[in-house]
Each structure stands twice: as structure tokens, then as C-alpha cells.
């Protein structure tokens, strides 16, 4: 990475549709950019398409049931065109991923050391001995106590937090340019979660990679990221720096999410919850997907996709409220409670 201002990751107009018993329009025209060395969190609720975005970037989605269009490039590599050997080279070397459940992501029949060494040997022509030395070095970097003996451990011999550290060691062993993190701390206990978040933050500085971090937890997003993109129904509704999103949220959905975090809710007061539940996405949205739950919705929110405003560099809001016009309220139809 010679030019620090160049985009490491560019996603343009990505659409992902699953077809099977029923069709799901999981991603609908997503645009996303990430500079190298930047940490971006995609914040969203279940079904918003945040994990699908990550899997699309590694081409992990089942090919036969998935229709994808748009463009994705990582460090100049056209991800959409990758297949075969080039795809294997890309996975783990250019981009790697850590998952929510390390017990499922690690292979139970190989030791931690062997699994890391295997990845290193696949991408760099080195001997097993050198690869194991790298594995040991990685275990030290993720601060696993007594790394020499842990190298010979199987995943089931480690605690949850330790396994998560081992998975991070595996993902970073080949020094990827981009790390995808799919809720890697959600299954961990609170006191362990903060350890892993701080570790990721340190390793990011040390290795200088870009991270796309996916979570539903705003607090986690604040701890880890430089920028936050809020995702709803397969698209990004708002994006900005962490400070902008937390202190100056513009989109009604972002505001609702922040309020329902209960961070400083007083006991006994009624929570300002977002009514209803997310749309089913069996048809491609042709209007603002949030409008049916939005207190500010107008007729035109239901007749066309919302315009995307860009009040500043790296800042965007997909909502008509950004026009600065006083909203005229739509007759409220109450959505079904969730």
C-alpha cells in the first residue's frame, strides 16, 4: 500500500439475491469504501445484510442459490471475477475473516499450531518448521499465555476467549490487507469481550490492515471503529465517523437504535422504541424500507427510494429529512408489533 489515501476496498452497487423456496433480496445496491488501515463497522440488526456483505467479499455464499451483481475490488483485485486458484490465493492472503463462533470456525481434529502453519504454507513457500515458528509468533502476538504448549492444543482444550485469540492468530498469520470480522466478540463474556476488542485494536495498528467489523452492538462499534455504516434492509442508511454517528445521528433509524441501546435510560421511563419489525425483503425495495416504521414518513417515502445526501466527505444519509424541510406527517398506520 503505497498511497495511504487510496481505497483498499470499493463496493459499488452490490446486489445479492438468494433464490430457493422463497426469494430474499439480501443486499440492494450497496456502496461502500474503505481506506487501507481504516476500521469500519457495519452496524445492523439481524437480517439487515451485514454478514452477507462480508461473505460476498470472500465469495463464501452458495453459488447455485445466489445471484450477485455490482462490483467489488480489494486492493485493485476484481473480487467478482475471482475463481479457482486465484480465489484460493485471495482468501487468507489478501482478505481473511474471523467469525462469531471460533469453536465452529476452527477444525476440531488439528492442533492450533498445525492449522496456522497450514495457512502459512499454503500462501508462502516455506517449510513446516518455519510455518510453525510463524504460528508460535502469532500466538505470542495475540497474547496467549504459554504459547509453546498452546501450539499443540486442540480447539476443545481452550476456553472461549482463548479460541477467539487463536482464530485471530490464524486470520492474521499471512498478514492480510483486509480483515473481515463477523461479530467476533458477541459470544464472549463481557470481561473477555473487552479484552478481545482491545487486542484487535492493537493488532490493527501493528499490522496496519483495514478491518470491516460487523456487529449489532453500538457499544462494541464505538470501541473498535473509526467509522460506522448503519445498515437496514440490505442497504446503508447512514455513514459517518464514530463521533458523527453517536453525537449527531441523522437517520431516524440510527436515532431509534441509539435510543434503544438503553445506555442512559432512566428506570421506569417508557423506552422510545422503534415500532414494528424489519421488512421481509421478498421483493426488491422500491421505496424507503424504513418508512413503514418511521414517525417522519411522508407519501414520497413510500413511492420512491430515498435520495442519498452527502453532507461531508465520508458522510452520507439516505433520508429526505436531510433536505431540511419540515416533515409533513403521513397518517400513521400502526405496524404489527414485533
Amino acid at each position: 500500500m503505497t498511497d495511504p489515501t487510496a481505497n483498499l476496498l470499493e463496493i459499488e452497487n452490490l446486489e445479492v439475491r438468494f433464490h430457493g423456496e422463497r426469494t430474499v433480496h439480501a443486499i440492494n445496491g450497496l456502496d461502500l469504501e474503505l481506506k487501507s488501515g481504516e476500521v469500519m463497522t457495519i452496524l445492523g440488526e439481524s437480517g439487515s445484510g451485514k454478514s452477507v456483505t462480508l461473505k460476498a467479499l470472500l465469495k463464501l455464499l452458495p453459488e447455485r442459490r445466489t445471484a450477485m451483481s455490482g462490483s467489488m475490488t480489494v486492493g485493485g483485485i476484481d473480487v467478482m471475477a475471482l475463481k479457482g486458484r486465484a480465489l484460493s490465493d485471495y482468501r487468507g492472503k489478501t482478505v481473511s475473516m474471523i467469525f462469531q463462533e471460533p469453536a465452529l470456525a476452527l477444525d476440531p481434529v488439528y492442533t492450533i499450531g498445525d492449522q496456522i502453519a497450514e495457512a502459512v504454507m499454503r500462501h508462502e513457500r516455506v517449510s513446516k518448521k518455519d510455518a510453525l515458528a510463524r504460528a508460535l509468533d502469532m500466538l505470542k502476538r495475540v497474547r496467549i499465555p504459554s504459547p509453546e504448549s498452546r501450539l499443540k492444543n486442540y480447539p476443545h482444550e481452550m476456553s472461549g476467549g482463548m479460541r477467539q485469540r487463536a482464530m485471530i492468530a490464524l486470520a492474521l498469520a499471512c498478514k492480510p490487507d483486509l480483515l473481515l470480522a463477523d461479530e467476533p466478540t458477541t459470544a464472549l463474556d463481557a470481561t473477555v469481550q473487552i479484552q478481545v476488542l482491545l487486542l484487535l485494536r492493537e493488532l490493527q495498528k501493528e499490522f496496519g490492515m483495514g478491518i470491516v467489523f460487523v456487529t449489532h452492538d453500538i457499544g462494541v462499534a464505538v470501541e473498535i471503529s473509526d467509522r460506522i455504516a448503519v445498515m437496514y434492509a440490505g442497504n446503508i442508511v447512514e455513514e459517518g465517523t464514530v463521533g458523527e454517528i453517536i453525537k449527531d445521528p441523522r437517520h431516524p433509524y440510527t436515532k431509534g437504535l441509539l435510543a434503544s441501546n438503553l445506555h442512559d435510560a432512566d428506570a421506569g421511563e417508557t423506552l422510545s422504541s422503534i415500532p414494528g419489525s424489519p421488512p421481509p425483503l421478498d421483493v426488491k425495495p422500491d421505496h424507503c424500507s424504513f418508512a413503514p416504521r418511521c414517525a417522519h414518513a411522508e407519501e414520497r417515502c413510500l413511492s420512491a427510494l430515498p435520495p442519498v445526501f452527502k453532507p461531508g466527505p465520508g458522510r452520507r444519509v439516505a433520508c429526505i429529512l436531510e433536505e431540511g424541510r419540515a416533515p409533513q406527517r403521513l397518517g400513521q398506520r400502526l405496524p404489527e408489533p414485533a
Binding site: 440488526e45 463474556d189 464505538v222 463521533g243 423506552l271 414485533a338
Partner: protein, 324 residues
């Protein structure tokens, strides 16, 4: 209520060990702690889903197994679980599910059905639209509303909510919490609310109980526990919450390592292996629960609070400063 030991024949896990606490009528007791701390086992003991090996459970003055049968207990205590799907029978419509309990207690079918409709309406699911649906036709939040309605059908006095909102999305969680608060006032309920989410527990609870490896380390009114954080584990647990302030992010993790395996808990104070204030006495003797600052309703089990424990920080009333 008084709880004892839960032992299995092989590899005995003292999942809940020497735990005593009371829940007053009409209050909400929040239980927090990490996985393996025994909070769910405590919940299951309270509704008699686990047998108690030693100790007593007293509900409304009646001792379980002496004045009170399990069946009687279930007339008064109901439970809502985390997994809304697994806790509903997939082959019953939600109306049948809610009416099932009352029918088993001899309520006429028509009357049970009427009650089911009334409760569905009360939890925000219009009976005309929802009564005939099956669990798989509902969203997670809607299913959890059904589980709440089902527990209400037994006209309980106490409801145990074991991570009942944890699997829900944030926006939906807020709706269900609002519902729970309204129902509590309306039906005069008492809640035991178990969650790993401290923000939620702080919002719903009157009192809060912090557990670590099967023991209660601190219990007291929410505001007092939140402010004093008398036990070092409480302080660490609260400090581990994400900061929510991008300008003041957490810099140092409050604790290192994972919680120990409950099969083989540390001796003495079970927290001493991770506690930065640990001294030899902590590994030897189990700390007594003592009043924090002399408050009658706020207790913590730490040698530093016990003037005669021999811990160097206990003498002269020096107090662990709350983190933050």
C-alpha cells in the same frame, strides 16, 4: 428464598453454591454475571426445574417440599426462556399453546380460549390476526410476546425471565421491555430478571445481584451497587461495558483471562485468581457477606470489606475506589 447445591453424580459441578437471597413482593431482582456463574441454574432452581441438593426454597411463606408441592409452586411461578422458538410447541397454534396450561388445571375449553384471546390482545398481538398462527409464522419478538402471554395464563405471582430479551434485536427488545413493565404494574407481578446485558438489568431492576462461579458476590439496590461497586468483580464487570463515548474509549481491559472452569473453582474467594487486590487470605478463606457502608440492604462478599478478615486493605475502613 434459600438455595443449596446442585450436584450431578459424575463431575459434580457446584453450579450454585451457598446462595441465599430474597425477592420482595412486587419488586424486580436483576441477576447478572458471566457464563457459568450460575444465574440460569438459579432460575431453574426457582421454578423447580432442577432439584435442590441442600437448602430451602420458600415461596410466599411456604417451604417447597414441606408446605408446597411442585405443582403448587407452578401455580405461582412461571418462567420465560431466552430461545422463544424452542420454548413453544411447533405443532400447536399460539392460541392452543396459551390455553393449554389453564385447560390442564381444569378450566373449560371455551373459557381457556377466551382467556388466550384476551392475553394475546394484552401483549399486543391482535387475536383475530394471530390466534391461529403457528410459532414459525411469527417473528422472534412476537414469539416472545406469546411466551409472556402463556406465562400470564397461569396467573403467576412471580415470573422468572431468563435472558428473555437477549436474543431480540435492539429495537424489538425495547418494545418487549416496555410491555414487561406495563404488565408488571397491571398484574401486580414480581420479576426475577436474568441478563448479561447490564444496561438492560439497570433499567428494569429495583435490586441487582452479581454472581461469580456459583456464588453471590454482591447484592443491593441498583443505584447503590452501580455507584459503589463494592466487590472488585462488580467493578470489573461494569468497567468492561463498552464506553459509548468515542473520545474516551476503554484503554485497559479491567480483567485478564477467562472465568475459571466451574468444575474446579478456585479455593477461598473464587475471584482471587483474577483479582488485582488478591492477598494470601483470599486464596485460603471464603469471604463472608458483609454490609457495604453499613447499609442494611447492600451486601458484598469480599475480604477487603470485612474488618476482621486480615486483608491489608480491610483495616482502617479503606475502601476500594469504584472504577471510572
Amino acid at each position: 428464598m434459600r438455595k443449596g447445591i446442585f450436584n450431578r453424580k459424575t463431575n459434580a459441578v457446584r453450579a450454585v453454591d451457598g446462595v441465599s437471597f430474597t425477592v420482595a413482593k412486587g419488586e424486580t431482582l436483576g441477576i447478572v454475571g458471566e457464563s457459568g456463574c450460575g444465574k440460569s441454574t438459579t432460575a431453574r432452581l426457582l421454578v423447580g426445574l432442577e432439584g435442590i441438593d441442600a437448602g430451602d426454597l420458600i415461596f410466599d411463606g411456604d417451604r417447597l417440599g414441606v408446605d408446597l408441592s411442585l405443582k403448587d409452586l407452578w401455580d405461582g411461578v412461571q418462567m420465560v426462556f431466552q430461545d422463544s422458538y424452542a420454548s413453544l410447541n411447533p405443532r400447536l397454534t399460539i392460541e392452543e399453546t396459551i390455553a393449554f396450561g389453564p385447560k390442564m388445571r381444569g378450566v373449560a375449553a371455551d373459557e381457556a380460549r377466551r382467556l388466550a384471546h384476551e392475553l394475546l390482545g394484552r401483549v399486543g398481538l391482535a387475536p383475530a390476526r394471530f390466534a391461529g398462527r403457528y410459532p414459525h409464522e411469527l417473528s422472534g419478538g412476537q414469539r416472545q410476546r406469546v411466551n409472556i402471554a402463556r406465562s400470564l395464563a397461569m396467573k403467576p405471582r412471580l415470573i422468572i425471565l431468563d435472558e428473555a430479551v437477549s436474543a431480540l434485536d435492539k429495537s424489538v427488545e425495547a418494545q418487549v421491555l416496555n410491555l414487561l413493565r406495563e404488565l408488571k404494574d397491571e398484574f401486580g407481578l414480581t420479576y426475577v430478571f436474568i441478563s448479561h446485558d447490564l444496561n438492560v438489568v439497570r433499567y428494569v431492576s429495583d435490586r441487582i445481584m452479581v454472581m461469580y462461579l456459583g456464588e453471590v458476590v454482591e447484592i443491593g439496590p441498583v443505584a447503590a451497587v452501580w455507584e459503589k461497586r463494592a466487590h472488585p468483580y462488580t467493578a470489573a464487570l461494569f468497567a468492561a461495558m463498552p464506553s459509548m463515548d468515542p473520545d474516551n474509549r476503554t484503554e485497559v481491559p479491567p480483567l485478564a483471562g477467562d472465568p475459571p472452569n466451574p468444575i474446579d473453582p478456585p479455593s477461598g474467594c473464587r475471584f482471587h485468581t483474577r483479582c488485582s487486590f488478591a492477598e494470601p487470605v483470599c486464596g485460603k478463606t471464603r469471604p463472608k457477606s458483609v454490609a457495604v457502608d453499613g447499609a442494611a440492604d447492600h451486601d458484598a462478599a469480599c475480604h477487603m470489606l470485612d474488618p476482621i478478615s486480615g486483608h491489608s486493605k480491610s483495616a482502617g475502613g479503606s475502601r476500594l475506589e469504584a472504577a471510572e
